[in-house]
Amino acid sequence: MRLIIAGFGTVGQGFAEALSKRADMLSSSYGGVKIVAAFDSKSYAADKNGLDPIALVKRKTDTGSVGADKMKDGIDVLNSVEYDILVEASPTNIQTGGDGLRYIEHALRHGKDVITVNKGPLALKFKELKKLADRKKAMIRFEGTVGGAMPIINLCCEDLKGEKVRSIRGIFNGTCNFILGRMDNGLPFEQALKEAQYMGYAESDPSYDIEGIDTACKVVILANSVFKRNVRFSDVSITGIASVNAEAIALAADQDMVIRLIGEVSDTVLEVSPRLIPKGHPLSISGTLNTAQIIADMAGPITISGKGAGRIETASAILSDLIAVMEKRR
């Protein structure tokens, strides 16, 4: 299988490392995988015989660029290299879908399979991309877009295929959960946010996380993929955590409850908001973990938990999608 990696930031590099780690298994079970091109925002590297994943990571770390060749548009790379699967890991843009959306559309239009961890394109144009993939008999997989290493989409769409999933409620943003967990310990919101930034969990502009935008993107992806709804980011009712104050946390604690930012989706609900959760409930966890409670009609409640972000954790989700694609293309 020939791969192109679009976007060589933290996740792209993590995936290259994961490929190197699993090279023997991929070779013995699936005949091997080679990276025929990789590009970031400025440069690209390409070799039809395959690039060394670790050398790509080293070059990016040392020079800030993945390749020696300058690049204006990633589409040029997609047009000039023969490949089977596009692994799309460029930065999320929730306003337009960004370059990621263009790369995905281009690859699908040419009948190539796509694996993406980019929430923007899916939150904005899920149905269109799915239709395009079906029309071109290509696959689009996106396990890494929701919950990082926590296998929620494939669990619901494949392992629970015989079930009617009634609802999914979960903590899908580790940054918010870290902040709210620290507020449980008495920290005011501003200080908890600063601590999250110091620890590297929150960006210098944390609005994407604390305003609930990141969780809303994930809720849209779950609604469209698991519940087969046709919704967009703008359909989600969103309340962030910026207005949660110490008094609210104290009042909740007095009643043996905590406040957590919950994304909820069902056939009729599409909501992101801070919610009161009884202590001991599966959704009352602290720290940066993600967790989700799936309510299925026959199996009842199923709770999963895992690392929602991170270099190698998200790469693990891409790898599972890659193997799923290769299984089907055998």
Partner: protein, 216 residues
């Protein structure tokens, strides 16, 4: 006798035609069902209504037919038997202990049942009842004054069947912001959905941040 679970299943299917052979006769005597008849379509829909859950320990004579004799009056008061444990180890003056869990629609029906049992020489050693309610908590943050919360709750009572309400305020109120926690118990799932919608809309109008609990 029809079971509550079955009633929900019927409701989900959108009701049953009157006189249809697949409608168990007992369904009409089940208190957790209310039959809603639609003249136009000829359909009747079974709806779950509020019921009082009762658990009772009674002692019946150790003779054939006594157990059935103690259960029949529950049907007579339109009750619905949920569970029966015939405890042969619990013997008192030649009588055997029976623990029954059942639903009745009102305390009047329960009183009627107690009278029937007494007439039938059935000894009631313990009886306790619980009305099933659905709890929900809300935290409200904003420029809140108690009279405003009172107004919101008075309006909520007009729209929703509320069983009980408890309001707490944060002790650390600043000039600009106050936090309140409202705990309510409502009588049905439908009321809970109505209450959530009401609170969401009322808080939005009053520019108050609203945080609600999760349905269990």
């Amino acid at each position: 006798m029809a079971q509550p679970g079955k009633a929900r299943a019927w409701k989900a299917r959108g009701g049953l035609r009157l006189g249809s052979s697949n409608l168990p006769l007992g369904a009409f005597y089940c208190p957790v069902l209310r039959i809603k008849y639609n003249k136009k379509s000829g359909l009747c829909t079974c709806i779950k209504v509020n019921a009082m859950m009762v658990n009772a320990d009674i002692f019946v004579k150790d003779l054939p037919g006594q157990l059935v004799g103690s259960l029949e009056p529950i049907s007579l008061v339109d009750g619905n038997i949920v569970g029966v444990v015939h405890n042969r180890d619990s013997v008192m003056n030649g009588r055997i202990g029976v623990n029954i869990t059942f639903e009745v629609t009102s305390s009047d029906a329960l009183e009627m049942l107690k009278n029937i049992w007494k007439k039938k020489d059935i000894i009631i050693s313990r009886i306790s009842s619980v009305v099933e309610t659905f709890p929900m908590d809300y935290v409200l943050i904003g420029q809140i004054v108690p009279s405003q919360i009172e107004r919101i709750l008075n309006n909520a009572r007009k729209a929703v069947d509320i069983e009980s309400v408890d309001v707490r305020y944060s002790s650390n109120a600043s000039n600009t912001e106050r936090t309140a926690m409202i705990s309510v118990n409502v009588k049905s799932e439908e009321s809970l959905a109505k209450m959530n919608a009401f609170m969401m809309s009322a808080c939005k109008k009053a520019n108050i941040v609203y945080i609600r609990g999760v349905e269990q």
